[in-house]
């Protein structure tokens, strides 16, 4: 109450000051509306006769002995899983009981992603594309979460979520076009490889700066809440990006503004070379959620059903209750950070092999499938052959395609072309006319652009 009263007094002071200055007579516009600070009423009325603390900032009891709260990192938030490392269901009530078709789809999407990763990583090594990032080991986090969403839910990613896009149906041609930055690239050749985006599939184009998507995702979720069309937002990021200020901002905003959003952290053990014990000292990312008033869970990211179950329930409640959820999916980055990284410089081959051989989302799901006789050795052989073939066809097509029209260097800075940019573009062409032999024109499309 006192807070409200002093707010009103402050307001009253403004009105007095305003009245004395500038002699505004006519314009009473909105100044004198009786202004009630409605939201502040949520705090309980202050009553000093009670022994309970009356502070507006926190609701708690008094305690009369000095004790610091011990952060619990030895035995932190437990990891939810449905399958053991061999792919056996532990508690049948947790099996989402998806159809054979759905499960096969999960498996095929994860393995197709893996195949595409191998080919594109190799193509960078051969100098065919400039850069690439693989998703090895994290396929379960992509497919499990993507499957639990509605197609109209908006995805904000970081850079290691290609499986989400693949699950939603982004064609191999389009993945390749972006990596090759050719004339079919939806992004018009402007960004480095793996910076995918698709308006049709509600996957917001990736940007390189880390964690910038987190407060943006909260804002998008708020807009969707007002739209009231049963849509949610999911926001992916790594445990390294979670150290950025933008992460703190996004979490806090989503909680205070009651946004229907799932924050999905891929904790894969490394941020390039920085291991988690140099990234944080608390109990990972999940433990931060309660600090923001957010419901949080930690899951086995290599268990596609655990990821699926957690995301499904989080999505349902986020939309129904307009509140954010935090899912920390524990996993392991089997590949290097990118083609610019050689991770043998900072971790052992044995460590990597453990995860590749003993705890891999693809093999765990395969065991689940083979235990039900849904997938045989022959199925595996023919699928490998088929998926490799489709990737190679898309790959060869993308490689042959010309690069985008050079005019596209100057468009989309603003929605409209500006006089300044027109001038610069004309200057560029004049220069090119004179010095054309020094520039790789033959690689670029000359078809007029529809603008």
């Amino acid at each position: 109450m006192a807070a409200v009263k002093s707010m009103n007094k402050l307001y009253g002071v403004c009105v007095h000051a305003a009245r004395r200055t500038a002699g505004l007579k006519a314009s009473r516009l909105l100044q004198h509306r009786a202004f009630r600070v409605g939201a502040v009423q949520r705090q309980q009325p202050f009553d000093s006769s009670l022994e309970k603390p009356q502070f507006p900032g926190a609701s708690a009891e008094f305690v009369d002995h000095l004790e610091f709260i011990q952060p619990n990192v030895i035995s932190g938030i437990p990891v939810y899983r449905v399958m053991d490392r061999q792919g056996n269901i532990i508690d049948p009530s947790q099996d989402p009981q998806l159809s054979k078709e759905q499960v096969l789809n999960f498996y095929q999407k994860m393995t197709l992603l893996n195949t595409m990763d191998r080919i594109l990583y190799e193509s960078q090594r051969q100098g065919r594309i400039s850069f690439y990032m693989t998703n090895y080991g994290e396929e379960g986090t992509h497919i499990g979460s993507a499957a639990a969403l509605d197609p109209e839910d908006i995805v904000f990613g970081q850079y290691r979520e290609a499986g989400v896009l693949m699950y939603r149906g982004f064609p191999l041609d389009m993945f390749m076009a972006q990596c090759y930055a050719n004339a079919d690239d939806l992004g018009k050749g402007r960004q480095m490889p793996v910076h995918y985006g698709s308006k049709d599939l509600n996957f917001v184009t990736i940007s390189s700066p880390l964690a910038t998507q987190i407060p943006q995702a909260a804002g998008a979720a708020y807009a969707l809440k007002r739209e009231n069309m049963n849509r949610a937002v999911i926001c992916y990021f790594g445990e390294g990006a979670a150290s950025e200020g933008d992460a703190h901002a996004g979490f806090n905003f989503s909680a205070t503004l009651e946004c229907p959003i799932i924050f999905f952290c891929r904790n894969n053990g490394y941020a390039i070379s920085t291991p988690t014990n140099e990234q944080y000292r608390g109990d990972g990312i999940a433990a931060r959620g309660p600090g923001y008033g957010m419901l949080s869970i930690r899951v086995d990211g290599n268990d596609v059903f655990a990821v699926y179950n957690a995301t499904k329930e989080a999505r349902r409640r986020a939309v129904a209750e307009n509140q954010p959820f935090l899912i920390e999916a524990m996993t392991y980055r089997i590949g290097h950070h990118s083609t610019s990284d050689d991770s043998s410089a900072y971790r052992s081959v044995d460590e990597v092999n453990y995860w590749d051989k003993q705890d891999h989302p693809i093999s765990r799901l395969r065991h689940y499938m083979t235990a039900r006789n849904w997938w045989s050795e022959d199925d595996e052989k023919s699928w490998r052959k088929q998926s490799r073939k489709t990737v190679m066809v898309a790959f060869e097509k993308a490689e042959k395609r010309l690069k985008p029209n050079i005019e596209l260097m100057f468009t989309d800075v603003y929605q409209e072309m500006t006089p300044n940019l027109n001038k610069q573009r004309d200057a560029m062409w004049r220069h090119m006319k004179q010095y054309k032999e020094h520039y790789p024109f033959e690689l670029f499309d000359k078809e007029p652009i529809s603008q």
Partner: protein, 391 residues
């Protein structure tokens, strides 16, 4: 505490009494005016200076319908009111906007349009802008308030790396064009380092955003409505010293003033004076002084949009006059006058009768007690004109 430090309750010439906020028997915070002895009274009177400019209203515009007397913050409120009324996706957010804002720009809007449309955010500028970008990407008209332009820097990454590049980097699949960021801007007499800054030059270097600064209530409403309607992310800096000091008859209905079009405030033939925001009123006075004391006719141009700026209008004027003076409060090195100067000398070199003159703040942080010496006042501008005429 931060709120108190940031909160300004003063007009240009007001005698203010702050009756104790939270004045209890135990509290010594909050003072009342103390009666002083006559001798100290006169020293104190001498310490209170008048503003360095006199606001000059423009002639009333009749083409936009009925008008109402409004000061600058009320003209902003009017623009926001019009927007919330006509655009159901529009939302306004930032620190303290719910109760009306520390400069009263959002007074009454929450009551009128609801708490889901006009709401406070946590104290976090990178969050405010990031949130605004996301809301815009998802289709809302997002109007973000940064409490002082001096505090916009935590949001610099979101503005420069994200908002400005959203459309380009996505191949036009996504954009945040419906985002507008508003912030109080410029010197206010006592604002010092962190309540006086004019950061337009930092953002002028960033293709993909627009930066707009009005000189008056009528301009403010029209330009703000243009920014909100513009399909590109815009930063709208509001000269805080004009919030109360500038009063005009402002159309009640919505109207727009085009972006990237400089406004020739008064025509002249001998010298072109370019400025924006508060400084326009300084320049108008300088133009009068030049006419009276030197017989020099000055053309005063309000740039209005810093990015993308109207090169054509400025160059056309310089071709006519042969002399250019650019003035801004922001520090001179790397200030926006440098960009204008460089472009004009490229285009109009042979037309120039004298080197282009820049009268700006010194390359120091914005000082507190030294403000009268720091700002590019009319005497400094007048002297620069004298030197140009006699070159």
């Amino acid at each position: 505490m931060a709120a108190a430090a940031r909160f300004f309750i003063r007009g240009a010439n007001s005698k203010l009494s702050i009756t104790g906020i939270g004045n209890g028997s135990q509290s010594s915070f909050g003072g009342t005016l103390v009666k002083l002895s006559p001798s100290s009274n006169s020293r104190i009177k001498a310490q209170r200076r008048h503003a360095h400019f006199t606001f000059q209203p423009d002639p009333e515009r009749t083409q936009y319908g009925p008008t109402q007397k409004m000061n600058l913050f009320q003209s902003v409120t009017s623009a926001l009111d019009n927007t919330l009324a006509s655009d159901p996706t529009a939302v306004i957010f930032g620190e303290d906007v719910a109760f009306g804002g520390v400069f009263r720009c959002t007074v009454g809007l929450r009551d009128k349009y609801g708490k889901d449309r006009v709401f406070n955010t946590p104290l976090c500028e990178q969050g405010i802008v990031g949130f605004g970008i996301g809301a815009a990407v998802a289709g809302a008209t997002a109007i973000a308030e940064i409490q002082f332009a001096d505090y916009i820097y935590p949001a610099f990454d979101q503005i420069v790396n994200e908002a400005a590049k959203y459309r380009y980097r996505s191949g036009n699949l996504f954009d945040c064009g419906s985002l507008t960021i508003r912030a109080p801007w410029g010197c206010v007499g006592h604002g010092s380092l962190y309540h006086s800054q004019s950061p337009e030059a930092f953002f002028a270097h960033c293709p993909g955003i627009k930066v707009v600064i009005p000189r008056s209530p009528v301009q403010a409403k029209g330009l703000l409505l243009s920014c909100i309607a513009d399909p590109n992310p815009c930063i709208f800096f509001e000269p805080k010293i004009l919030y109360r000091a500038a009063v005009e008859q402002v159309p009640v209905e919505p109207y727009t003033i085009p972006l990237s079009q400089a406004d020739i405030v008064q025509e002249g033939s001998d010298v072109t004076l370019v400025a924006w925001g508060t400084q326009i009123h300084v320049m108008r006075e300088v133009a009068n002084m030049a006419q009276e004391k030197l017989g020099v006719s000055c053309e005063v141009i309000d740039l209005q949009t810093i990015l993308p700026w109207d090169v054509e209008t400025v160059c056309k004027s310089v071709v006519k006059t042969g002399r250019l003076l650019i003035s801004h409060e922001a520090p001179i090195t790397g200030g926006f006058a440098a960009e204008i100067s460089s472009s004009v000398q490229e285009e109009c070199f042979l037309n120039l009768e004298a080197p282009i003159s820049r009268v700006c703040g010194y390359d120091t942080p914005f000082p507190h007690i030294f403000e009268p010496f720091y700002i590019p006042d009319k005497w400094k501008c007048f002297d620069a004109i004298k030197k140009m005429i006699n070159y």
